[in-house]
């Protein structure tokens, strides 16, 4: 055993070496959930505990028989506090995406995949934070926000948290079973807007996120919230500027933009 690594990173029970976040670990797929068209959640089981803050991400690495490797980043979709060995990642199929296509076409229950993390320590929410929280997500940008919302629920946190989620259609909406616990009616802490094809009889918003929409949600907070914004560059640029104009402190607006990294 490498003494230097033991000294640097400590030992667990005096026996097992604790792995670093950047060590590759092998996860075995135990569950695959269809979330929406082109969007699936995969649960991976490891032989060591999983622990991260909501909003952190993991890398999946694939290796071909000739040694070629490709890797992609995926946000954790479910909180993990170290009491379980499982990790849930929600994965969107990207056009011509070599990693997501492989996962959608080849990965089954029992498949083994190399994963490392948690990575990134900025776009994170933990129940230790005391500011009210506004989560704004578009499309698959909801994935890390869903993790934050569940972390908030699991911790029974008393800080107000609201989610504003923009999806094209109901069919494209991820996590419907959580966000719409009663068919067609969003949970109290969730505001939906459908930008293309709302469900029949939908009474809510049917447009892109704008200043009025954000203004209405902001009035529900007792004090200005910390904001987490995740989605396409277009959505994030628009929403973050509107939040600054609405008076939020730019230092309390965290953003994650995704473009077309296949």
């Amino acid at each position: 055993m490498d003494i230097t690594i033991m000294a640097t990173h400590g030992v667990n029970n005096g026996m097992t070496q604790i792995s670093k976040p950047t060590d590759w670990r092998i996860g075995t797929v135990t569950e695959i959930v269809y979330e929406a068209q082109g969007l699936r959640s995969y649960t991976f089981a490891f032989d060591t505990p999983i622990k991260h803050d909501a909003g952190q991400h993991y890398e999946i690495r694939l290796t071909a028989p000739d040694g070629y490797q490709a890797a992609r980043l995926y946000s954790a979709a479910m909180p993990a506090n170290g009491t379980s060995n499982t990790l849930e990642l929600t994965i969107a199929r990207m056009p011509n995406g070599e990693v997501s296509s492989y996962i959608f076409n080849h990965v089954k229950i029992g498949s083994q995949i190399e994963i490392r993390g948690p990575l990134g320590r900025y776009f994170v929410w933990s129940p230790r934070q005391k500011d009210p929280v506004l989560l704004v997500g578009g499309g698959t940008g909801v994935i890390p926000l869903r993790c934050m919302r569940l972390a908030h629920q699991h911790a029974a946190s008393a800080v107000p948290m609201q989610l504003l989620y923009s999806a094209r259609t109901y069919a494209d909406t991820a996590y419907k079973y959580e966000l719409f616990p009663r068919s067609g009616v969003p949970s109290n802490d969730v505001t939906m807007t459908f930008t293309e094809d709302p469900p029949a009889g939908w009474p809510g918003y049917t447009r892109r996120i704008d200043a009025d929409m954000l203004g209405e949600i902001l009035t529900s907070f007792p004090e200005p919230p910390r904001a987490y914004v995740c989605g396409t560059t277009r959505l994030v640029e628009n929403v973050t500027q509107l939040l600054v104009q609405a008076g939020l402190d730019p230092a309390k607006i965290s953003a994650e933009r995704f473009g077309s990294t296949a």
Binding site: E98, E114, Q241, S254, R257, S260, T261
Partner: protein, 202 residues
């Protein structure tokens, strides 16, 4: 040896300009941790301070009076995309250091400061001798706001978070001062060819 994933194939051809673990994009993704700061060019300043002989504060006009340089090169983002064969234009760090009267022997690091509060650190030898500039144009056009307008540090041989957007200050120091991402889990140096992505990567 890494686990081999059955059925996963390497691409038919791979460009030798692409570092390990990177994929080529034709679009240009945006990564910024917060809102894009909107900067009025009238208020823009570039401060050059720390261990330089004559600290300077340049206006946009003064900055643009300096000789421009271009670099045709590739950029590599730690989030695993690379964009190849871009043309960038700006003022080299050599030129800016010369304008500030040169560096003291004790200047070992550059700390770049940005509007919005972002910082990043780079060893001095990585920004001199034509290796870095303060860029104002990419692909023949002024930088768009989301890519760092009006000017960003450009150090293309390191992962692109080192190329600080919205730059407003260059401080030369004798000691290293890890910046925003460098204290938030990312590597202190960030060489794409050695895959120095995260703080525990070698």
């Amino acid at each position: 040896m890494a686990l081999v994933n059955p059925g996963f194939k390497s691409p038919l051809s791979r460009d030798r300009r692409v570092p390990p673990g990177q994929s080529v994009v034709t679009s240009w993704p945006v990564l910024t941790y917060g809102p894009t700061p909107l900067i009025d060019i009238k208020d823009w300043r570039l401060e050059i301070d720390g261990i330089v002989k004559n600290p300077q504060e340049l206006t946009w006009e003064q900055f643009n009076d300096l000789p421009k340089t271009t670099m045709e090169t590739d950029i590599h983002c730690v989030t695993r995309w690379s964009k190849l064969g871009m043309e960038w234009e700006g003022v080299s760090l050599d030129e800016l250091v010369r304008f500030a009267g040169g560096l003291s022997d004790r200047a070992h690091y550059l700390v770049a400061h940005s509007y919005g509060g972002y910082t990043t650190n780079v060893p001095v030898e990585d920004v001199l001798n034509g290796r870095a500039m303060i860029a104002t144009h990419a692909e023949g056009k002024p930088l768009p706001p989301e890519h760092g307008a009006p000017a960003r540090l450009f150090v293309p041989h390191l992962y692109f978070w080192k190329s600080a957007k919205y730059v407003k200050g260059l401080t030369f120091t004798s000691l290293d001062h890890p910046g925003f991402w460098e204290v938030n889990g990312y590597h202190n140096y960030g060489d794409p060819w050695r895959e120095q992505r995260y703080d525990t990567d070698l």
